[in-house]
């Protein structure tokens, strides 16, 4: 089976900012993404847990997208202004996909 090179971009971001981020991804030409709940964690801003959250201001989500390597730079450039001021982590890993035309 033919596999094709792709980049997996994972962005852990404040839940309140997810819609703004996904709007930017769509504008940058990203063809698809998944939003996943994050149940808790710890980092430079301290420890947190999803349990008992009452404010929309609290909590994090993970946005994962698989993209064609040629789109990577444009995608990261388009989301940087949003991520610059907010809590979040961006990681990019090499991966392979089966149907390259979808990404």
């Amino acid at each position: 089976m033919d596999m094709h090179e792709a980049k997996r971009v994972e962005i852990i971001i404040e839940k309140i900012m997810v819609n703004r981020l996904t709007d930017l991804l769509i504008q940058a030409g990203v063809k698809g993404f998944s939003v996943l709940p994050v149940s808790g964690g710890s980092g430079s801003s301290g420890h947190w847990s999803r349990a008992g959250q009452i404010s929309r201001a609290q909590g994090m989500s993970a946005v994962v997208c698989l993209i064609n390597p040629e789109r990577l730079e444009k995608t990261l450039d388009s989301i940087f202004p949003l991520l610059d001021r907010h809590i979040g982590v961006v990681s990019v890993t090499d991966t392979k996909v089966m149907r390259a035309e979808l990404f």
């Binding site: 404040e14 309140i16 900012m17 703004r20 301290g46 420890h47 947190w48 999803r50 349990a51 008992g52 959250q53 009452i54 404010s55 929309r56 201001a57 609290q58 001021r85 907010h86 809590i87």
Partner: protein, 326 residues
């Protein structure tokens, strides 16, 4: 003074407050007692729906009068002005940065709907009536404080983009406001008949659900305090107690000026004294991410919310009774 102690004792021994204390204590003792996020959200939706509907239904048939308009206007003015008082107090009392002080100030201009619901339940227990439209006054007090705080910040923080249209829509159409106002209008339109139809669902279980919700709020407030250890100074904590008293006093002056009844005066004081921990933190995270959420959430949820529930509400009832008379 005797009335204050008697009222405080009744309040502190009510199931609503005792469940809050249970949650708060369990959190401080590091118990694993927990509410799933969806259940906490469901209870909050139920309470907003019930309080909104009851407020609208109680107002149906009365029409719009001058006092209703003055009450709504007072709510908007109080919400817009209280952040300035909070900001000045914070700058005098603490060494908080301008951005953090303005973000905290926004919370104190806006309101805590749970404190409002608890206060209205305590008024009902005391047999004190209040105007149904106070629910609408509560809704009008959510947003103006955010605009005032962003104005305070705009000169100091060049990175702040202030209010864009998406943020404005999120503030004005946040789920809590839509449900509260929507239920209020449905209650207003359907009136007593509508209330009778759904009364078994919104009346009898109301206090039980409120107890459970306050148990959860106690857990959240207690855990917030533990996680924020060291984030706020003693002087900031003192602000979290002084500001509600100052806000309640100003709320009382507005209530007397427009001639509100005793119950509505207490609710106006409670609204002015309470601090937001749902709508405003979300707006601050979007518009001013540089402000430290541990400070504003700890003060509004960990200090002012428990203070108002345990000490504030009986104090406001006593003061309003002494000033206005029963």
């Amino acid at each position: 003074m005797e009335q204050l102690f008697s009222l405080a004792q009744q309040n502190l021994l009510s199931p609503i407050i005792l469940f809050f204390v249970l949650g708060f204590s369990a959190a401080l003792a590091k118990s694993d007692l927990n509410f799933p996020e969806a259940i906490a959200k469901g209870m909050s939706l139920y309470l907003l729906f019930a309080i909104g509907f009851k407020g609208g239904a109680s107002l149906s048939g009365y029409g719009v009068d001058l006092q209703l308009i003055l009450s709504l206007l007072s709510g908007i003015i109080l919400s817009a002005l209280l952040p300035f008082l909070a900001f000045v107090l914070l700058r005098i009392m603490t060494k908080m940065s301008t951005i953090d002080a303005a973000a905290v100030a926004a919370h104190y201009g806006s309101i805590s709907i749970v404190t409002f619901v608890a206060a209205s339940s305590i008024l009902e227990i005391q047999g004190i009536t209040y105007d149904g439209y106070m629910v609408a006054v509560a809704a009008t007090m959510e947003a103006p404080a955010i605009i005032s705080a962003l104005w305070l910040i705009s000169g100091k923080n060049k990175a702040s983009k202030g209010l864009d249209s998406a943020l404005m829509r999120e503030i004005l159409l946040n789920g809590s406001i839509v449900l509260l106002i929507g239920s209020f209008f449905i209650g207003l339109v359907t009136g007593k008949d509508g209330f009778t139809e759904i009364s078994p669902f919104i009346s009898a279980p109301f206090k039980g659900v409120l107890c459970l919700f306050l148990l959860d709020m106690g857990l959240v407030a207690g855990r917030g305090l533990i996680n924020a250890k060291g984030a706020v100074s003693g002087r900031a904590v003192l602000f979290g107690v002084i500001m509600p008293l100052a806000g309640a006093t100003i709320g009382l002056i507005f209530a007397i000026t427009i001639g509100l009844s005793l119950g509505s005066t207490v609710l106006m004081m409670v609204l002015s004294a309470s601090a937001s921990y749902i709508a405003v933190p979300a707006a601050m995270r979007v518009a001013v991410p540089e402000a430290n959420p541990a400070i504003y959430l700890t003060l509004s949820l960990g200090v002012t919310f428990p203070f108002n529930l345990t000490v504030g509400i009986p104090l406001y009832v006593t003061i309003a009774t002494a000033v206005i008379g029963s």
